[in-house]
């Protein structure tokens, strides 16, 4: 068996059977897959395509062996990325141009009709507005509380380590557990909030009885879970501030606010921006807590919940794929805009 042939070096080499002839294997694989797709059942085609892919992979590895070590080392990661991320992403992008439902196996090309429909759909805009409201409120609350917690834990005090573990616990819990916990927490009959309110008002307190109350309930639950994440990032910035800066400021009798503005904030600004970016992207996908707490009731249905209904409950696979791409596009645009503004400010600074 040859291991160092380069099949592209001559025309004949392309058709030479060799373990290193990856190009020949690719051509054979594609031809075999296309033929089987035309004449054989889909499941057989799937296996043939799989075998062809494996053959191409093996020949590519043999061909690269000893010559492209770097490429070979990252090849497994690239392969996993392609199989698990890039291929499904492209596949779903393709699906969004068809009229495909998961519960029917019919496929019809309809071009941009789904995108046209969703842009003109007032329900989609309503869900996007709800999502934007929740994103702004929940991220704002998380940032404020996360920052305050970080300032608190940056100081040394008794039981600090144990309290820190307790404060970090929510972000280690599953969304479902947090959702179920808060559902009982807010319950007008059994919930702690209502029981405490009842002591003062002699009436059960129903937080989720209005849109505002339901949004507050979601924001509190999400912030409870993720403010510790912001705290963790900011805390990393705070502990990296050299102590001598504070000492120098103390000698100069710099007021506390000025110390914060000139010393503390510049050190944590970058991490704070990172936390803002992460949490904003995550908040755009807000689903679990809303699903458990309100199921989208009281006008709290987010775009992620709407996509779930279309995809999983109504089996409108193609339409939900197009919705997902609009969501992805929105997040990418916002992220890039944010990075652009952050970079510009950094340069100005």
């Amino acid at each position: 068996m040859k291991t160092t042939d380069t099949p592209s070096s001559s025309g004949n080499a392309l058709f030479t059977p060799s373990w290193s002839n990856w190009l020949g294997a690719l051509i054979v694989g594609v031809v075999a897959t296309v033929i089987s797709a035309l004449v054989l059942p889909a499941i057989t085609t799937l296996w043939i395509a799989g075998a062809a892919s494996a053959l191409v992979a093996v020949t590519a590895v043999v061909n690269a062996w000893g010559r492209y070590i770097g490429g070979l080392l990252i090849a497994p990661a690239i392969a996993v990325l392609v199989v698990m991320n890039i291929f499904p992403l492209l596949w779903s992008l393709g699906l969004s141009f068809y009229n495909y439902r998961a519960d029917r196996q019919t496929l019809r090309f309809i071009g941009f009709r789904h995108y046209e429909r969703l842009i003109n759909d007032p329900v989609v805009w309503d869900r996007l507005t709800t999502t934007a409201t929740l994103v702004v409120l929940t991220v704002l609350v998380q940032m404020i509380f996360g920052f305050l917690l970080a300032l608190l834990f940056a100081k040394q005090f008794p039981l600090r380590r144990y309290l820190l573990i307790l404060v970090l616990t929510p972000m280690m819990l599953s969304y479902v557990a947090v959702g179920a916990f808060f559902r009982y927490y807010y319950d007008p009959t059994f919930g702690l909030v209502s029981q405490v309110a009842n002591l003062f008002t002699d009436e059960p307190y129903v937080l989720i009885s209005s849109t505002g109350g339901a949004i507050a309930a979601i924001v509190i639950a999400d912030a409870w879970m993720w403010a510790p994440f912001v705290m963790l990032l900011v805390l990393a910035g705070l502990v990296s501030v050299p102590k001598y800066l504070y000492e120098a400021a103390a000698v100069d009798r710099v007021p506390a606010w000025r110390r914060f503005q000139s010393i503390t904030f510049p050190y944590v600004k970058g991490l704070l921006m990172l936390a803002l970016l992460f949490r904003t992207i995550e908040a755009f996908k807000l689903f679990d807590i809303v699903f458990i707490l309100t199921d989208g009731g009281q006008s709290t249905e987010t775009i992620a919940l709407y996509v779930y209904r279309q995809a999983i409950q109504f089996n409108k696979t193609s339409y939900s794929a197009s919705l997902s791409y609009v969501l992805l596009f929105t997040v990418i645009v916002l992220t890039n805009l944010y990075l652009y503004l952050a970079n510009r400010r950094a340069k100005e600074g």
Binding site: D103, P188, T189, V206, D295, Q313, N315
Partner: protein, 475 residues
């Protein structure tokens, strides 16, 4: 005569061979039926009975592998499994509304050929009440095409706290306030209409510390509850009953393509019915204002001792009478669901049927289909149906539920035979989930006080008309 050792061994081997040839060989194959089921008492009882008693007629070693899936996620999980193509399940306990979607998708197998080929099974089905058989089995609804066998038929009934309702102080106070007797015994509760149900709701609005049944209430207490939640079908199932009782209708799938949604779903009578349903919510526990008072919440409130009356599926009754899961076990009576008193004094109790059928998946091979049918026949056999009813289930087979023993098994069984006569079902068309989700969203807006009954039904009717026209089901 002396025999050598070799001769003896040869003779023994020949003898064994001769015996094995003379005896017909019986090969017991291992067959596993994989089934998806909702996780609740009726399916738990089924699995227990199977494990304890089932012996396949074929002689095979048949195992029933059951995935118990929580109710709120059941549709989503089963739908995901079926549409993903994993072909994990041979059978499922399906909700009747899903028939259209999963039959059109090619997942549920038509059963007519199996029934026609099996006189015993045909006779069993012929001996069933038509309401559950049509609701659980037929697609299109009420056609001759059979896709399901009843697993657990179910209806809505009244759960009542006898210790509160029958207390002398409450009886006297109610009599003084309304000039009529507070229904207390199961027979009296059977005669309750929605008007009386509302009075009881109004009467039992007790705060913590108020007197309740002769002592201070340890928590707030409410008279009535029924489902009014946004999730799944947790308001439609109750609203439909009101709609039919008031003489209005939902979109009639048996009238395709001429049956309309607009003008029917939002007719003046339908608006009146929805208004009636909404008018009683003010007497219910405050969780109703959140849109999350589903069948699980009302069940929990009742078992925790916060309610005098609850309208609930029979499937929950077993946990209500179990002291391990219920604080009010031993203090409960069961009666028919209230209805609307008509001009002639009779009570219309038309209601939405609950319960589920067994279905068999299209990819199940012949050997497993045979075992699945044998299992269904075993399940529907008189002896097992009696055992199921004795353990807390229900039977749709007339000879079983008409047996005098039947009403002695569980206190709610007395409501069963009469209740079955009032049952109708909601849509079975493939678009049912879109219809249901939009309807639930609109009902939720009404339940939480964001819009009135007319606006709610107008929005539902408009949506249904458009969706069903697009699907070609309305011309």
């Amino acid at each position: 005569m002396t025999l050598s050792k070799r001769s003896l061994i040869s003779a023994a081997m020949a003898g064994c061979l001769g015996m094995s040839l003379a005896t017909p060989a019986v090969w017991a194959a291992d067959v596993t039926l994989n089934m998806a089921v909702p996780d609740w008492p009726p399916t738990r009882i089924m699995k227990k009975l199977f494990d304890e008693q089932y012996k396949a007629k074929s002689g095979n070693n048949v195992k029933l592998e059951v995935d118990f899936i929580p109710w709120p996620d059941y549709y989503t999980r089963l739908n995901a499994s079926l549409t993903s193509g994993e072909q994990k399940y041979n059978m499922a306990v399906s909700d009747s509304q899903w028939l259209g979607a999963f039959i059109e998708g090619g997942y549920y197998r038509k059963l007519n050929d199996l029934i026609d080929a099996d006189p015993e099974l045909k006779a069993t089905l012929d001996g069933m009440h038509q309401a559950p058989l049509q609701a659980y089995g037929t697609y299109p609804y009420k056609s001759d095409n059979i896709y399901g066998f009843p697993q657990m038929p179910d209806i809505l009934i009244t759960y009542a706290r006898t210790d509160v309702l029958c207390h002398a102080d409450e009886q006297a106070a109610f009599q003084a306030k309304y000039g009529t007797k507070l229904p207390c015994s199961p027979e009296e509760l059977d005669g309750m209409d929605w008007d009386m149900f509302g009075k009881i709701g109004e009467f039992f609005q007790r705060k913590k510390g108020d007197m309740l049944a002769g002592k201070a209430a340890d928590d707030d207490f409410y008279g009535i509850a029924y489902q009014a939640g946004k999730g799944y079908d947790f308001s439609s199932m109750q609203v439909n009953g009101f709609t039919w009782q008031h003489g209005a209708g939902i979109w009639d799938e048996t009238g395709i393509p001429n049956a309309q949604a607009e003008g029917v779903v939002n007719s003046p009578l339908a608006v009146k019915a929805l208004d009636h349903y909404l008018s009683l919510l003010k007497y219910m526990p405050p969780v109703v204002k959140t849109g999350s008072m589903d069948i699980f919440k009302t069940d929990e409130l009742f078992r925790e001792g916060k309610l005098a009356l609850n309208i609930e599926w029979i499937g929950f009754a077993e946990s209500a009478i179990n002291p391990e899961t219920s604080k009010v076990a031993g203090k409960i009576a069961f009666a028919a669901m209230p209805g609307l008193k008509k001009a002639d004094g009779k009570i219309d109790r038309t209601s939405n049927i609950g319960g589920q059928p067994f279905v068999i998946m299209t990819w199940t091979d012949d050997a497993k289909i045979k075992e699945a049918v044998d299992f269904v026949k075993w399940w529907l056999s008189s002896d097992i149906q009696h055992q199921f009813a004795a353990a807390g289930g229900q039977s749709a087979i007339k000879s079983v539920y008409n047996d005098p023993k039947y009403t002695t098994y569980r206190p709610w069984n007395r409501t069963w035979a009469a209740g079955l006569e009032w049952q109708q079902d909601v849509w079975h068309v493939p678009q049912f989930f879109e219809l249901l989700v939009q309807q639930q969203e609109q009902f939720d807006l009404a339940v939480t006080g964001k819009q009135d009954a007319k606006a709610t039904l107008d929005a539902i009717a408009k949506f249904q008309q458009q969706l069903l026209e697009d699907a070609g089901l309305i011309e």
